[in-house]
Structure formats: structure tokens, C-alpha cells
Symmetry: C2
Subunit: 246 residues, 2 copies
DNA sequence: ACCTGAACACCGTTCAAGT
DNA sequence: ACCTGAACACCGTTCAAGT
């Protein structure tokens, strides 16, 4: 885990000759690369600084705070997920958004927990995404308070699922914990939990609460597809309730 | 933030007279109380140790690891959420589960991020919850792979929403960040984001990505209710697709 | 403006030693 | 079995000082 600075840079204080060597951008890229490689648990300001061959204080000059940097990283990952407007029916636009969002998270799974579980990172998602979802839902017939409700349900369905699918394993003794949970799952008492016992082969390590690997190793593809369908079907039912006079 | 140990205990090494002074249970309770009061960001093994008037190593003798303790805390919060079996139709049972789960999280909002965003904590949820959801979905007509898909959708819908609703604010300069986001939200360019601009009064600080307070200050009650309805409507549509021969 | 070098006040975890 | 006391190898952030 310990790495030397890649290049033995000048290492004298003072403003460098050819403009700034660092930038918020470059730092965020380095942080993302490090998180992709070693996970969010191994991320630290000092590690990123070492990676870039500078002192920790230098990183702080550019990004102010650890949380701000992580928000920047999350924004980078989610920058390109919004589908273009105006080419798809609202149902298909939303489905496409879900797909592109999951593709982005699958490329950077260790960032997933930031998206749903940190207000800062969540708040740095692209405005186009918000606009697009609202446009789709308006097309579906929502307005006012129902529009807000439908919007919140769409965002929660999408980011909530992904946050859970790629939620990280314990940092250290991963296999010990995995073995323990596998044991626990397979020794469930049939009399107390008959339904669970009956369907255990279908569920073990492939269902929430009952798994010891996350989406990186065992992706929940078909469940995510189903989640999209259920969400859209539910939204259509909601829209129908709003205009019973057909 | 600094507190003395409540009682100046003997402070000599060795096995105490009347059995163990500490236990995994007592430690988890203390941790939960501390997290409720000061947030997950202020949680540390050393703080809990100080709170209990013992050395950090003493805590480690009982709980092995920081993550394990947090999983224990999550389990404590979620211990009582499962509704009794056999009294409700499956739709109502699931709705009741959602309600009770949200009530539990609202009592301990700072624990929310553990539920969805940490595989360890997620894995320590009660088995009765799993059994109950599966029983409800079986009653709805699901089996085999569709059962697994429906199950994952239910859990993701429930915990995903709550994880997001109560996701924590930045640790330190909260109000500076809030002011900045509020500014950003209210200076959205109308020509680029017309739909968002039009509905901003309905959305600002009450919709994901557009808020600077979390569910503790600004709960998303009606959106959660709608989320339940959408999920159940979507599940019913899914069930209908499975038996087109009525 | 941009960076060094060092310091401050923390962490989680381990380990020998006590009783 | 249960706890002390101290240590190890880390953290994020701040700050004076350089150029």
C-alpha cells in the first residue's frame, strides 16, 4: 500500500515556473483513480498527496476539505449519465437514465456509497439530470406536489438501488466475515423461517441482507431491470390515479 | 465535545469483582446514544471508551472491530421493525413494514447511512424481516427468479429511500455549504433548465439533489407514502405479467 | 499564487502486563 | 476472563514561511 512519489520533483517551496502544477481537476482524477484501485476505505488526503508527489497542505490549498474533494469525485463519475432530451418517450427516457447511471457506477463502484449516503455528493449531481427527470415526469402528466413526489421516487429508486448494490464490504478481514455470514445464512432454522429456507438456493449471495459479495463480484442485473419496470409501472398507475376522468 | 468519564471507577487492571462491567450490549447502547446525539462523524472507539470510563483496548476486547460495533448498532435499531405475520394482506404487510422501518430510522436518523451503504450492517438486519417479505411476495404469487427480483426491489426501495432521505450533511462548515447550494439552486439558468425553473418553489430543499437539509429537519413524508404506493402498484403489475392466462 | 515543512489534535488496533 | 497502560502507524487540517 505504501508508494513513493512517482517523480522526484523539485521539492522547493514557492510558485512553480510554468503555472500551477496541480488543479482541482487533476486532484479529483487522481483521487478517483486511487479509489477505483483501492476502495474508499484506503482513500486519504495524505495518500492522494503522496500519489501526486506533494505535501498534504498543497492538496488542501486546492480543495479546502476532504468532503469537498469526494463530492468532486462523485460529480466526475456522474457527469455524463443524462440522456439527450426530446428523442424518447418518458418511460424510455427514464429507463435509459437508469441504465446509463448504472453503467457509470459499475465503472467506479467504490464511489457508489457517496451518491446516496452523503448529502454533499448527492447535491453535486448534474443539473441536467434533474431537469431531464422533471421533463419526463411532466410529459407523463405530473405537476405540482405529485411532480415532486414522483421525482423523489425516481431518484430514490435509482440511486438507492445502486448505493445498496455496490455498498462496500468490510475493510479488513473480508473473508472471515464472508465466511461467518455464509454460515449464518445456511444455518437458518427451517421451522422459524420456512419460506426463506425453501428459496435459499435462489437467494444466497444474490439478495440483499443475504449476500457477502457486492455488485462488483455478483451484479444484480435482472433485479435492476425489474426495478426499472416496477418503478415505471408504478408511476403509470400514479398518473392514472390523477386523472380518473380519463 | 470532551467529556470526563462519568464515574471515577477503580482504574486498576484485572478482572472486576462482580463479573464483567462491560458487554457487547452495553457498548452498542452507548454507541447508539452517542451517535444519536453527535452523529456518525463524531463516533470513534476512543470516544465510546471515554464515555464508558474505560481504555480503548477494553472496548476492543468486547467488539473486535469498529465496523462490527457499527453493525451491532444498526441491528439494534432495526430489531423491532418486522410486523407480525398472518394478519394482513401482502400489500398492507409491506406497507406496514415500510412505515415501521421509517419510524425506527427517524428515531435514529444518524444510523441511516449504515443500513444501505455498508454491507456488514445490511447483513445484520433481522432474519424475520427477510422471511416476512418473502412470505408476502409468495402470497402475491411470486416464485423462483421473479421472487428474488421482487424481493430485491422491495428491500432496495425501502432502505434506499431511507438511506437517501437521512443521508448526513457535511461534518463541519454545514451552513457555509448550505448557503452555497441554496445559491446554486436559486441561480439556475431558466433557458437551460426551464422545467426545473418553473417548479423550483415546489422543489427547493424538498427534493433530492436540490436540498441542503436532510430528513431530520425536512422529512419527505408524502414522497415516502407515494414511494410505497408506487412500489406496490409496480409489484402488482409485475405479478399480473406472470400469469397472463388470468 | 502556489507550495514546503512542521506541527496539533486526533484516529483504530495491538500487545504486554496486571489480577 | 477482563482490564490497564503504553505504544505503533496512521489520520485531516492549520499555519508560518518560502518564492
Amino acid at each position: 500500500m505504501k508508494k513513493k512519489a512517482p517523480e522526484p520533483r523539485p521539492r522547493t517551496a514557492g510558485r512553480p515556473a510554468g503555472g500551477a502544477a496541480l488543479s482541482k481537476q487533476r486532484i479529483a482524477e487522481a483521487a478517483l483513480a486511487h479509489i477505483d484501485a483501492f476502495g474508499l476505505g484506503a482513500f486519504s488526503m495524505r495518500e492522494i498527496a503522496a500519489q501526486l508527489g506533494v505535501y498534504p497542505a498543497t492538496v488542501h490549498w486546492h480543495v479546502s476539505t476532504r468532503e469537498a474533494l469526494l463530492a468532486e469525485v462523485a460529480a466526475t463519475v456522474m457527469a455524463q449519465v443524462t440522456p439527450p432530451k426530446g428523442t424518447l418517450a418518458w418511460q424510455n427516457w427514464i429507463a435509459e437514465l437508469f441504465h446509463r447511471c448504472r453503467a457509470a457506477v459499475r465503472q467506479h463502484p467504490n464511489v457508489a456509497q457517496l451518491l446516496g449516503a452523503q448529502l454533499v455528493s448527492n447535491g453535486s449531481l448534474p443539473t441536467e439530470l434533474v431537469e431531464g427527470v422533471l421533463a419526463a415526469l411532466t410529459e407523463a402528466g405530473f405537476d405540482g406536489e405529485p411532480l415532486r413526489e414522483a421525482y423523489n421516487c425516481v431518484i430514490a429508486a435509482m440511486l438507492g438501488f445502486l448505493t445498496m448494490e455496490f455498498s462496500p464490504l468490510p475493510a479488513d478481514n473480508t473473508q472471515a466475515w464472508a465466511e461467518e455470514l455464509r454460515e449464518r445464512v445456511h444455518t437458518i432454522r427451517p421451522l422459524d423461517h420456512p419460506v426463506l429456507t425453501r428459496h435459499l438456493p435462489q437467494l444466497a449471495n444474490q439478495a440483499f441482507i443475504l449476500r457477502w459479495d457486492n455488485g462488483t463480484t455478483v451484479p444484480l442485473d435482472s433485479s435492476f431491470e425489474r426495478h426499472i419496470q416496477i418503478t415505471i409501472d408504478g408511476l403509470e398507475a400514479f398518473a392514472r390515479r390523477l386523472k380518473p376522468a380519463q
